[in-house]
């Protein structure tokens, strides 16, 4: 029965759908939000102070992970961690990166909502492995 119905419907081939997906991505790449995000990501990757602050924070988080999982940090350890977090997030390039990420996320969420509404499936849930298994 389905095949009979399909005879009357114009089917878009996989290559046409993929081309329109690439055109869609190219349009996103031209948005001010994406350009700002790329620029901020580049600045962040090339800022030595920000990279060092990030590495110091990651190393501390890694060394304290077992205690953090048990919620067993003492006050000194908690303070050390907060200081490193603050040293990282107070870097201007990091703030610019986070701000650009928020702007791009807002745009992508609007696009995702439009896609999900039209196709009758949650785009993110269909494409991203769920944290709920």
């Amino acid at each position: 029965m389905n095949d009979q119905v399909n005879e009357d419907i114009e089917i878009a081939s996989s290559s046409i759908v993929k081309q329109s997906a690439r055109d869609f991505a190219a349009a996103i790449a031209e948005t001010p939000q994406f350009k700002a995000f790329e620029q901020a990501a580049y600045a962040f990757r090339n800022d030595q102070a920000a990279q060092q602050a990030m590495q110091a924070l990651q190393q501390k988080q890694q060394s304290l992970r077992p205690l953090m999982q048990l919620n067993a940090l003492n006050n000194i350890q908690r303070e050390e961690l907060l200081e490193l977090q603050s040293a990282f997030t107070s870097q201007p390039v990091v703030q610019e990166y986070f701000s650009a990420q928020v702007e791009l996320t807002t745009l992508c969420q609007a696009l995702g909502d439009e896609l999900s509404g039209a196709i009758g499936l949650n785009y993110a849930a269909a494409c991203v492995a769920s944290c709920c298994g």
Binding site: N2, V5, N6, I9, E10, I11, A12, S13, S14, I16, V17, K18, S20, A21, R22, D23, F24, A25, A26, A27, I28, A29, E30, T31, F34, L104, T105, T106, L107, C108, Q109, A110, L111, G112, D113, E114, L115, A118, I119, G120, L121, Y123, A124, A125, A126, C127, V128, S130, C131, C132
Partner: protein, 125 residues
């Protein structure tokens, strides 16, 4: 606050959506969904299965679950698996998700980010 899309972005989005909906995977998915929505036997079976799963979870929490109840749920699950309309919908849904992931990968490759992750609203699931 609503995000205003530029005419170029809106046009690219509209074309992308039209082509997705005209793809074989989506046509089959929506057809199988319509069949399922209009099949009273399949609907009744899914409702029964959903109710049985709810009851089972409740009894499991109360530690009052019997072997007969587990067997009864398994029998319903088997009936659902053997129902052509339900199975057709489940297969079509799997195919459309696989296709959508391939399409998302095209977008990711061009942008260098995981687009679907950026579309997620905060909170788990």
């Amino acid at each position: 606050m609503e995000t205003i899309l530029s005419p170029t972005m809106q046009e690219a989005t509209n074309v992308f959506i039209s082509n997705l909906l005209a793809s074989e995977a989506f046509i089959r998915y929506h057809q199988s969904q319509t069949l399922l929505d209009h099949d009273s036997k399949a609907q009744a079976l899914l409702n029964q299965l959903s109710q049985a799963q709810t009851d089972l979870r409740k009894k499991q929490a109360e530690s009052s679950l019997s072997k007969d109840e587990i067997d009864s749920l398994r029998a319903l699950q088997t009936q659902a698996r053997e129902n052509d309309v339900i199975q057709g919908y489940a297969d079509a849904q799997q195919d459309v998700i696989k296709f959508l992931r391939e399409i998302n990968e095209e977008i990711n490759q061009l942008l260098g980010i995981d687009f679907a992750s950026f579309t997620k609203h905060s909170g788990c699931c």
